[in-house]
Subunit: 207 residues, 2 copies
C-alpha cells in the first residue's frame, strides 16, 4: 500500500500528466513530471513503478495510460460531488476555483445562514439555507462535504453532515472536529504551508 507521503505526491503528478493529456502529448518523461511536481526524478520513478510498467526507458511514460492509472488510485474516476457549508470569503474562493474540476470535484450546492446570501449563485451554484442540507445531501447522494464556517460553528455543521450521510469532510475551520470512525476527515491548515516557506527562507543565506 502507498505511504502517506507518496499519496501526497500523486496529485501533483496527476495535475501535470492530465495537462499533457489535454494537450495531446503521447509520452512524458520522469524528469518533466519531477520538475512540475517539485520532487526529484528518482522519486517519481520509484513512486510510479509501484503501479505497473508503463514507462519505457528513453521514451518516457505513456500519458493516457499513466493519467488513467492515477485517476483510478486517486478515486477521481467517478465525478465526486461535494457540498460546501459556509459561503463566505474562503467558501466562495473555493467554489469559484476552476482547478478542482481537474481532480473530478464538482461543488453542487452551497449552504449558509446569512439571509443576504441565500438564493444567490456562487461559481454557478445556488446557496441554500443550512436547514436544507440534509434534504439535498440525501436526494443527490453526496458523499463529500467542505466546511468553511467560523470555528465555533464547525462541529455542529460536521454533525449535520454525518447525520445526512456524508462520508468524507474537508475541514478548513481551525478546530479538530470529532466524527465517527468510518468518516474520513482532512483538516486543511494553510498556515502549515506558510511555516515551511519561512523555514526555507530562514535556511537561505541572506544576499
Amino acid at each position: 500500500s502507498l505511504s502517506r507521503q507518496a499519496l501526497l505526491r500523486l496529485p501533483r503528478y496527476y495535475r501535470y500528466v492530465s495537462h499533457c493529456r489535454d494537450r495531446g502529448m503521447k509520452f512524458v518523461s520522469s524528469e518533466e513530471i519531477a520538475r512540475e511536481a517539485e520532487v526529484n526524478p528518482v522519486q517519481v520513478r520509484k513512486d510510479l513503478t509501484q503501479f505497473g510498467q508503463f514507462g519505457k526507458p528513453g521514451v518516457g511514460y505513456n500519458v493516457v495510460e499513466l493519467a488513467s492509472v492515477l485517476e483510478e488510485i486517486l478515486g477521481i474516476r467517478n465525478l465526486n460531488e461535494a457540498v460546501l457549508v459556509g459561503a463566505g470569503r474562503l467558501g466562495t474562493a473555493i467554489a469559484n476555483y476552476s482547478g478542482f474540476a481537474r481532480y473530478g470535484l464538482s461543488i453542487v450546492a452551497l449552504f449558509d445562514v446569512d439571509p443576504l446570501k441565500i438564493g444567490e449563485r456562487v461559481g454557478g451554484k445556488e446557496v441554500f439555507h443550512r436547514s436544507e442540507l440534509s434534504h439535498v445531501v440525501r436526494r443527490l447522494g453526496i458523499q463529500v462535504g467542505i466546511i468553511t464556517v467560523p470555528a465555533e460553528e464547525a462541529q455542529s455543521v460536521a454533525d449535520d453532515m454525518v447525520a445526512a450521510g456524508i462520508r468524507a469532510i474537508w475541514n478548513f475551520a481551525p478546530i479538530t472536529i470529532k466524527v465517527p470512525g468510518d468518516v474520513v476527515v482532512r483538516n486543511e491548515d494553510l498556515a502549515a504551508g506558510l511555516a515551511t516557506l519561512f523555514h526555507h527562507l530562514a535556511a537561505e543565506p541572506s544576499p
Copy 2:
C-alpha cells in the same frame, strides 16, 4: 538536515505545542502531539530527538522549551511580515485568517488594481494600488509575498515582487511561476489536498 516530510510535520506539532504554552501547560506527551498532528507517536519522538533531549520518559516534553526550539527551526522567531497581491475572495480570506499569527505571519499590506478596492481595509490592513508595491516593500523591508491574482497575472506580479526585494513567494495561482534561483517559491494547490481525501474515500468500504 531535515527531510521534507519531517519539515511538513513540524508546523502541526508547533500548532499544538504553542496552544499548550498559551494555556500554561508545563509538559506535553508525544501521544498528545501525535493525536493532534495526526501522525503516530513513534514518528513524533523520532522527529524531535533530532533537535535535542527535552523529553523525559514518563513526564513528556517541556512545553516552553519545545515551542521555542520549533520556533527557531521554523524561522518563526522574528515576526515575518508579508504583502499580499490580489485582494479578491481568496486574498481576503487569507488576510482575515487569525491562524497565521500563531506562525508569526503578519500581512502588513494588500495590493490590487480594482479601483473599488483601493483604500479599503481588509483584516485591518489597507489595500494599496499595485503600483505602490515596490515602494512599500522596500520601505518596510518585506521578504515574503503572497500571490492570489488570476493565473494570467501571476508571473508579472512575481516579477515585480522579486524586483522589489521579496525573497519568498507563496503562490496560489494555478501556474508555475519562474523566479531566480535564490528566491523560494511554494505553490499551494488546495486541490491536491482534496484529491487525497477522495483516495481515502475510495479506499474505505462503502457502508
